[in-house]
Amino acid sequence: MTMFHFFNCAILTFGPHAVYYSATPLSEYDTLGTSIKAALVYLGTALVKLVCLATFLQVSENDGFDPYQELLKALIGFIDVAGLYFALTQLTHRNISQNHKFQAVGLGWAFADSVLHRLAPLWVGARGLEFTWDYILQGLEANANLVLSISLAALGSLIWLRKNKPKTLIPIIYACAGIVATMPSITSYLRRGLGWHFPKVVGFELFTSLVMAFISWQLFSACQRPST
């Protein structure tokens, strides 16, 4: 029953992306090209991050939380944000409304992230006879990541694509974007510094992703009011 388990974990990890694409108007407007381009941009960003990490980061002996190293990792994490900026602004899209653009970019981004980080461990590990909860938790993490990526793309599009924003909301937008961008550092601090176990960390990620999605949805609809 090991291929069965692999199949289960695979649909948990990659299913929501497909469901999101088919359920929302993205499929009607045929934004697949945008998503694929966003995925490729993610690959490029990942490569650049890898090179930077390899050059600047020192491998620590113990699994503890080293603030300096984590700060460095967070700075390198901002390359992610740069990649997202590139995907949102520089790629030539067909005439898609801004609403759908950020969704397509976020979707492609999250899908590439899942494939790169979770497909190989899933293929190697979930097919064995030995049963662990790890792969199911990993799938839940992929779901949280999807929501976070879409929120980040939304906030990003608000920051860079929308020109007339209510003045009061701008700091909130930047603050939320900052929080979402530094999520990886926060989770690694929780795991290493506070010693939280994997299920707890995944639960935290799911909760925060839902909260951030709600906040960014509210911000987005608030910014949309002047133009309608």
């Binding site: 029953m1 069965f4 388990h5 199949f7 289960n8 649909i11 948990l12 299913g15 929501p16 469901v19 999101y20 088919s22 359920a23 929302t24 108007p25 293929w123 190697v124 590990g125 097919r127 064995g128 006879l129 030995e130 049963f131 199911i136």
Partner: protein, 562 residues
Amino acid sequence: MATSKKSGGLRDLLEPMYSVIALLFILVACVELCDAAAAVDVYRLIQYDMSGSPFGSRFAALNHHASSLRFPPGADLSRTVLIIPLRELNITFVREYITQKKPLGGLLFLLPEVLSFKHGGNKQVHEKEKMKKLLAELEQLLVNSNIPYPVYFAFENDDIDTVLTEIKKNDAMGQPATATTGGYKLVIPTAEPKKVASPTITNIQGWLSGLKADGDANQLPTIAIVASYDTFGAAPALSVGGDSNGSGIVALLEIARLFSLLYSNPKTRGRYNLLFGLTSGGPYNYNGTQKWLRSFDQRLRESIDYAICLNSIGSWDNELWIHVSKPPENAYIKQIFEGFSNVAEELDLKVGLKHKKINISNPRVAWEHEQFSRLRVTAATLSGLSVAPELFESTGGLFDGRQYVNETAIFRGVKLVAESLARHIYGHQGKDVQIFADESSLAVNPAYIRSWLDLLSQTPRVAPFLSKNDPFVMALKKELADHADEVNVQHENLEGIFTFYDSTSTRLNIYQVASVTFDLLLLLVLGSYLIVLFCFLVITTRGVDDLISLFRRPPSRKVKTA
């Protein structure tokens, strides 16, 4: 020309690609085997045929769920492996299962860690006698039955203990592990065991020449000292035979060393030749000894005054036995026995004489001296055992490890044999002369005995699994060559009525598996989650009408065509 060059270049480019792809495939295939909950070294029960009848465990591969002894009564065990630690072993239960041929997926016996020669070390064994008796009974039962499923032995360690407690907990809740209820799965992925092609037995003999006076045309008389070095047990990878017959080998080597010291100087060389024999094939009715004797020149055989066979002299307290097949009234036997008794008195130990007639028609040879007696050579066996062992009894079984051998017993045995032989050779019978006195240059060396005993207690020596050039056999030959003038090695085939099968030790993987119901449940949950997600997204982004319209489309098409 150009195209072939181009295709050649392309081929060159693709070649490293092929190796990379192949490497990737291998990696992908291999990695899935390394994630077990526990991996343990296990040793298989011996599998052999005797005169065509099969004995032992006939299978090696294992892929079943595990269960402990607390399984619910009436459960179907034909696809379950029973894990039985030795302290919970109920021999009547096992005997019932085997003799009544009840279906079982497999048996895994857990032996206490002290018995392991890799990790046990020299720790003391609690309740030695009880464990020895239990193991001997279990071994006799397993070795003499035909078992149609795999039987393995393993040593207890922390991993397997935790697994066993978990299994016991599950069994107590009335849920034996099957494909639908999860639990632990034991997997041993070996191939089917194959016959060992023409097993060889190797006899090693060492010759110490005596002092031949000038003008003496007759051949000097010879005294032979023999010990068999191979073992047989329920788990051939664990049959180290500390007492049977490691003690005999060690004693023989020490006696050879002492006499080689004496014989190195022509002034102290005796007028007897000494023939040392390390024979193989002991458990199989001393087959090796028989072949060795048959290979002798008639003159050599006739020149043997007598032979002393050493067998299990490592675990006795105060009494040693001399077993003979010629009647005790025989002059030669009397002489030998008196010689030994005199020395024994001085060393403060007892020696008894036991007579067992040979039955020529019975192929069973219980003692090594019987092979000599069948060829009319006077011989006796010195042993700590008082009763003749049955076939495959006292041949180095599961309990016969380092803990069951006593160095002091071997020390005293060596002294007894060496003194008695020396008195016979140098004609000091009845005189109170100590040749191998303690503190002298000819003292028996306890360190030598200890180091060889330690080595032997870590070397399993079942003859069919020892190749012709096995390093241990070579080591014995080299050691004997250090002490003797001339060493010969004789390779023979083990007699045809025995056939052995390989695959004696392997690695067991224990996996914790989830049941099929769990997987199905998970699939159900995930399916409903995705459907709910889908509906939620449709409702929030397109509106409820769109969702309803998704289900209404097929009927509307039918209306159109109609």
